[in-house]
C-alpha cells in the first residue's frame, strides 16, 4: 500500500500539452494571484478572516454561497460556450476544435457544475440571507453547522475546479451512469473526481436542509403562524425537506459506485450480480426531487418579487402554499420518467407518466396566481420584475414540452435527444436561474446596503432572454430531427444551421453574464449614491425589509410581532413600522469560528487524497476532521453577548439613517413608487 507515497499522482497527470486547459489554468492562477495580491496590498487579510471566512452570521454565509455560485456560473458558462462552438463547427468532414475526450469531460463538468455547484449554492445563499430575516429571527438554528455546510460545498467545488489541471474530469456525463462509469470502462481518476465532490457537498446540503427545517419551524417571530409565512419561506421549507429526504440517496448511490471502483464491489457492474438499473433508480430518486429543490426557491422569489413590484398582496396565498407543498410531495413519485426507455412495462410507465403530469396542475395553479397578482396591480418594471415576468411565458413552453416527455410513447421518440436538453434548460434557466437572478437583484441591497444598477440589470435580462431563446429553441427542433445529446461530432449537415443559431444564443447569454459583471462593478463604484438608508428600497411587504440594510448581526433588536402574511406591509399601513424601541436588551450571538473553514479544507484534502489513492493522507485528513469535530464539541464559549449599550448605539445609527431616508424620499415617492415613507 505504501510503495508509492503519492498514490497515482505524478507530474504527468498535468495536461501541459493541452493549450486550452493550460490557458484556462493560467487564467485561474492569475485571478487567484490577483486576489491574493490585492488582499495583501490593501491589508485585508484580517478583514477577510475575521469578517467573512470564520463568520457564523447567516447573512455573510449566504453571501459567500452566492459568490461561489457566481464563480461557478462563469466556469459552467465557459463549458457551455465551448460545447456550442464545437457543435456549431463539427459537422461532416470538420472535426471541430475539441478532441472527444475533452468534449466529453466538458459536458460532464457543465451539468455537474451548473446543478450542484452553481444552482445549489445560489439558492442556498438566498435562503441563508433572507429566510431568518423573513421569519423575524436573529439567526439560524445551528449557525456553526451552517458554516460547515458552506465550506463542504466550497471543498467540492474546489475539487472540480482542480480536476481541470491535475488529472482529468469524468467523461460519464453529469448522471455518471454505470457501467460506463465503472472501472472497467473508465479506469482513470475522472469518475472519482465526479464522485468525491458530490459526496462531500451532498453531506453539506443535507445539513443545510436540516438547519432550515429547524430554523423555520422553531425560530419564527411571535405571531407568525405557518399560514403567515411568506411564500419564499414556504418554498425554502419545502426545499429543505426535499434536501433532507433526497440528498442521502445521492450520497448513497455515489458511495456505492465508489465502492465498485475502489473496493472491487459489484453494485452496478456488468455481471457478477451488478445491475445498473438500481443505479438509475437511486440516482433519480435524488435527481427528480433535486429539480424541485432547484425550482421551488425560484418560485418563492417570483412570489415575493411579483407581489412587491405589483404593489399588491399575493393573489391566493393559501392556494400558493398548497400548490408548493403538493409539488414537493409529488416530486418523489415521478423519478421513473427519466428512464421510460429502460423497458418497464406499460402499467409502470403509464403510472409514472400520469404522476408526472399531475405536477402540471399545481404548477399551473401557481402560474395563474402570479398572473392575477399582477392583475389590477401597479407594476414597476425593475430588473428583478422583468426576470419574473419573462419567466412566466418561457416556463409555460417548458411545461408544455415537459408534458410531451411525460407521455411514455412520446418520450420513446424524444428521450436522449436535443429536445430533452432544450426541455430541461427551459425549466432550469427561466424556471430556476431567472428566479435566482431576480432574487439576487431584489435582495442585494438588503445584504450589502446599496441597490444594484437597474439599467444594467435590464440589459442583462434582455440578453439572457434573447440568448435563451436562440440557444434552446433550435435544440427543440433538433430533437424532431433525431439528433441525440452529447454529440462531439455529427454527419448530418441538416443539423448544423440550428447548432450555429444555438451558438449565437450562447454569445447573447455571454453578454448577459458580462452585463451582470458590469452591473456589479458599476453599482459598487456608485455605492455611496445608491445607499439604501431606509432598509426598504422597494416598498417591500415582508419582514426582511423592516431591518436596516445591511442588517446588524442580530437582525432585529426587538423581535417583531406578526399579524399578517405581508407582515411589514401591514405594519406600514398601521403606522407601527420603524418604531423606536423603548429600551434595548443585550443579545447573545454565535462567536466566530475558524473550525468550519478548517473542516472544509480537510474535506478537500481528504477528497483529493482519495481520488489519487494517497491513503496515508486520506487517513490523516479524515482523522483531522474528526479531531476538529471533537474540538468544537469540547469548546465551551461558543457565544458572546452584545451589550445593551452597543445594541442601542447600532439602533440609534439606524434611526438616524431612517430620518435621512425620510428627507430624501419627500416628493419622490409618488413618481417612482419605489421609496417608502418612513415615519420615525
Amino acid at each position: 500500500m505504501f510503495d508509492h507515497w503519492l498514490g497515482k499522482l505524478t507530474i504527468h497527470v498535468i495536461p501541459y500539452d493541452n493549450p486550452i486547459i493550460m490557458s484556462a489554468a493560467a487564467f485561474m492562477a492569475l485571478v487567484i494571484l490577483l486576489v491574493l495580491g490585492a488582499l495583501t496590498f490593501y491589508g485585508k487579510w484580517t478583514w477577510l478572516w475575521k469578517g467573512w471566512l470564520t463568520s457564523l452570521d447567516h447573512k455573510k454565509i449566504g453571501s459567500m454561497y452566492v459568490i461561489l455560485a457566481m464563480v461557478m456560473l462563469l466556469r459552467g458558462f465557459v463549458d457551455a460556450a465551448m460545447m456550442r462552438t464545437q457543435q456549431a463547427m463539427a459537422a461532416g468532414a470538420d472535426p471541430g476544435y475539441l478532441p472527444p475526450h475533452h468534449f466529453d469531460q466538458i459536458f460532464s463538468a457543465h451539468g455537474t457544475i451548473m446543478i450542484v455547484f452553481m444552482a445549489m449554492p445560489f439558492l442556498t445563499g438566498l435562503i441563508n440571507v433572507v429566510v431568518p430575516q423573513q421569519i423575524g429571527a436573529r439567526d439560524v438554528a445551528f449557525p456553526f453547522m451552517n458554516a460547515v455546510s458552506l465550506w463542504l460545498t466550497v471543498a467540492g467545488a474546489a475539487l472540480i475546479l482542480l480536476s481541470l489541471v491535475v488529472g482529468t474530469f469524468s467523461r460519464a456525463g453529469w448522471t455518471g451512469y454505470p457501467p460506463y462509469s465503472e472501472l472497467q470502462y473508465n479506469p482513470g481518476v475522472g469518475v472519482d473526481y465526479w464522485i468525491l465532490p458530490l459526496v462531500i457537498s451532498g453531506v453539506g446540503t443535507t445539513m443545510t436542509g436540516i438547519n432550515f427545517i429547524v430554523t423555520i419551524l422553531r425560530k419564527r417571530a411571535p405571531g407568525m403562524t405557518l399560514m403567515r409565512m411568506p411564500l419564499f419561506t414556504w418554498s425554502a421549507l419545502c426545499t429543505s425537506v426535499l434536501m433532507v429526504l433526497a440528498f442521502p440517496a445521492l450520497t448513497v448511490v455515489t458511495v456505492l459506485l465508489g465502492l465498485d471502483r475502489y473496493a472491487g464491489m459489484h453494485f452496478f457492474t456488468n455481471g457478477q450480480g451488478g445491475n445498473m438499473m438500481n443505479y438509475a433508480n437511486l440516482f433519480w430518486i435524488w435527481g427528480h426531487p433535486e429539480v424541485y429543490i432547484l425550482i421551488l426557491p425560484a418560485f418563492g422569489v417570483f412570489s415575493e418579487v411579483i407581489a412587491t413590484f405589483s404593489g399588491k398582496r399575493l393573489f391566493g396565498y393559501r392556494m400558493m402554499v398548497y400548490a408548493v407543498a403538493v409539488i414537493a410531495l409529488l416530486s418523489f413519485t415521478v423519478w421513473l420518467h427519466h428512464f421510460f426507455t429502460m423497458g418497464a412495462g406499460a402499467n409502470v410507465n403509464a403510472v409514472f407518466g400520469i404522476a408526472t403530469m399531475l405536477i402540471a396542475i399545481p404548477t399551473g395553479v401557481k402560474v395563474f396566481h402570479w398572473l392575477f397578482t399582477m392583475y389590477r396591480g401597479r407594476i414597476r418594471f425593475t430588473a428583478p420584475m422583468l426576470f419574473s415576468v419573462g419567466f412566466i411565458p418561457l416556463f409555460a413552453i417548458g411545461g408544455m414540452t415537459g408534458v410531451v416527455l411525460a407521455e411514455p410513447p412520446a418520450d420513446f421518440m424524444m428521450h436522449n435527444s436535443e429536445f430533452l436538453v432544450a426541455h430541461f434548460h427551459n425549466m432550469l434557466i427561466p424556471g430556476a436561474l431567472f428566479g435566482y437572478l431576480a432574487g439576487y437583484m431584489y435582495w442585494f441591497p438588503k445584504a450589502f446596503g446599496f441597490t444594484l444598477n437597474d439599467r444594467w440589470g435590464k440589459i442583462a435580462f434582455w440578453n439572457w432572454l434573447i440568448g435563451f431563446l436562440l440557444a434552446f429553441m433550435p435544440l427543440y427542433m433538433l430533437g424532431f430531427m433525431g439528433m441525440p445529446r452529447r454529440m462531439e461530432h455529427y454527419g448530418n449537415p441538416a443539423w448544423q444551421p440550428y447548432l450555429v443559431v444555438a451558438a449565437v444564443g450562447a454569445v447573447f447569454i455571454g453578454f448577459g453574464i458580462l452585463s451582470l459583471i458590469v452591473q456589479l462593478v458599476v453599482s459598487i463604484r456608485a455605492r455611496q449614491k445608491n445607499r439604501d438608508l431606509s432598509g426598504d428600497p422597494w416598498n417591500g411587504r415582508t419582514l426582511e425589509w423592516a431591518t436596516a440594510s445591511p442588517p446588524p448581526p442580530y437582525n432585529f433588536a426587538v423581535l417583531p410581532v406578526v399579524t399578517d402574511v405581508d407582515a411589514f406591509a401591514a405594519m406600514k399601513q398601521a403606522g407601527t413600522a420603524w418604531q423606536r424601541p423603548a429600551r434595548y436588551e443585550a443579545i447573545v450571538l454565535p462567536r466566530n469560528s475558524g473550525l468550519a473553514f478548517v473542516m472544509g479544507g480537510l474535506a478537500f484534502a481528504c477528497g483529493f487524497a482519495v481520488i489519487w489513492h494517497i491513503w496515508w493522507a486520506a487517513t490523516a485528513t479524515a482523522l483531522g476532521a474528526l479531531a476538529a469535530v471533537i474540538t468544537r464539541a469540547w469548546r465551551d464559549e461558543q457565544e458572546y453577548t452584545l451589550s445593551a449599550a452597543e445594541v442601542q448605539r447600532l439602533g440609534d445609527a439606524r434611526f438616524a439613517d431612517l430620518e435621512n431616508a425620510l428627507a430624501a424620499a419627500v416628493g419622490q415617492s409618488e413618481t417612482t413608487g419605489n421609496q417608502p415613507v418612513p415615519q420615525v
Binding site: G271, R313, A346, R378, A406, R485
Partner: protein, 294 residues
C-alpha cells in the same frame, strides 16, 4: 482548406439558407415523418399533447403581455386594487382547468402506453420476423436467428412485416433508436429488451445509439433498409451464399472496440450466439464466449 475557413466565417447566411432549405425537406424531420405505424402513433401523440397544452400556454402568453402592459405603473387609467387577493371562483378555476386537461392527457397516457408499448406485438396477419440486436463498442450487430445470418451496422427489413427486435448489449448501456420507425429502448448487458416495429414504406432510414457510450459514440449509427418482401428474401440468399461465418472467434474480433466499422454481413451464425452474449453476464460458466475488455 481555404474554403473551409471561408464557410466558417459566414455562419449566418449559411444558417438562414440551410434553415429554409431543410425546412422544406421532410427527410430531415424523421420524428415528424414516420414510415411505420409505431412511429405514426408516437408522432400523432406528440402533436395531440402539444395541441392540448396550447389550451393553457396560449392564455398564459396572452395574460402575461396583457396584464404587464395594462397594469404598468405609468398607466393611471387602470384599476388599482392593492388588497384584492382572494377569489374562490378564480382559484377553483385555476385548479380545474389544468386538472381537466391533465385528466385528458393522463387518459391518453394510459391507453397510449399500452398500445405503443415496445413489448406489444403489432397486430397484422404477417408472421413477425425476429431480429436480435447486440450493441457493441461502437457498432450494432443484427442477428437473424431464423435466417442464420447476421449483419453489422446495417439492418435489412421486409416491409409490411412486423419486426420483433430482441436487444442486449455486450458493453455499456446503449439506446437503440430508429426515429422514422418508432421509439427507442435501452440495450443493457445481461438483459434483453424488446421493440416491435414495422416499416410500411420502402426506403433507407437512419438508426442510432442515443445513449452516450464513449469515444466512438458519435459514429455509432446504422442504416435501416426496408425492402419489399421478395427483395428481402433475395438479400438473405446473397448473404448466405457468400459464406462468411460468425463464430466464437470472429465474434470476439468483432466485439473489440472499433469506430466507424464498415457494414459487414455474416452467414452462417453460431447458434444461440445472442443467448451466449446475455449469459456471459448472468451465468458466466454457461457461456462459451469470453468478455471483451476495451
Amino acid at each position: 482548406m481555404k474554403q473551409e475557413t471561408h464557410r466558417r466565417l459566414l455562419p449566418w447566411p449559411v444558417a438562414v439558407t440551410a434553415l429554409l432549405v431543410s425546412g422544406c425537406s421532410p427527410a430531415h424531420w424523421p420524428v415528424l415523418d414516420p414510415a411505420g405505424p409505431v412511429g405514426l402513433g408516437e408522432r400523432n401523440l406528440i402533436l395531440v399533447v402539444i395541441g392540448l397544452m396550447l389550451l393553457v400556454v396560449i392564455p398564459v402568453f396572452v395574460m402575461t403581455f396583457w396584464f404587464a402592459w395594462r397594469y404598468r405603473a405609468s398607466n393611471r387609467q387602470a384599476v388599482y386594487a392593492p388588497d384584492w387577493s382572494e377569489s374562490r371562483g378564480l382559484s377553483l378555476l385555476f385548479w380545474l382547468v389544468p386538472g381537466i386537461i391533465v385528466a385528458g392527457l393522463g387518459t391518453i397516457a394510459w391507453f397510449s402506453s399500452h398500445k405503443l408499448s415496445p413489448y406489444e406485438p403489432i397486430e397484422t396477419d404477417a408472421t413477425p420476423l425476429t431480429i436480435q440486436v447486440v450493441a457493441l463498442d461502437w457498432k450494432w450487430l443484427f442477428i437473424y436467428p431464423g435466417q442464420h445470418i447476421a449483419s453489422v451496422n446495417r439492418v435489412v427489413l421486409p416491409i409490411g412485416v412486423p419486426v420483433d427486435f430482441r436487444i442486449t448489449s455486450d458493453t455499456v448501456m446503449n439506446a437503440f433508436f430508429i426515429p422514422r420507425l418508432g421509439g427507442q429502448i435501452y440495450a443493457m448487458a445481461g438483459m434483453e429488451t424488446q421493440l416491435h416495429l414495422l416499416a410500411d414504406r420502402a426506403g433507407t432510414y437512419y438508426g442510432e445509439n442515443t445513449q452516450y457510450s464513449g469515444r466512438g459514440f458519435p459514429y455509432q449509427h446504422f442504416e435501416v433498409v426496408a425492402l419489399p418482401k421478395a427483395d428481402f428474401e433475395a438479400w438473405v440468399k446473397t448473404v448466405r451464399d457468400r459464406h462468411h461465418p460468425l463464430d466464437t472467434n470472429s465474434y470476439a474480433r468483432l466485439a473489440r472496440p472499433s469506430v466507424r466499422k464498415a457494414v459487414a454481413e455474416y452467414a452462417p451464425v453460431k447458434p444461440r450466439l445472442f443467448e451466449d452474449v446475455i449469459n456471459k453476464y448472468v451465468h458466466p460458466g454457461a457461456a462459451t464466449i469470453g468478455t471483451t475488455p476495451r
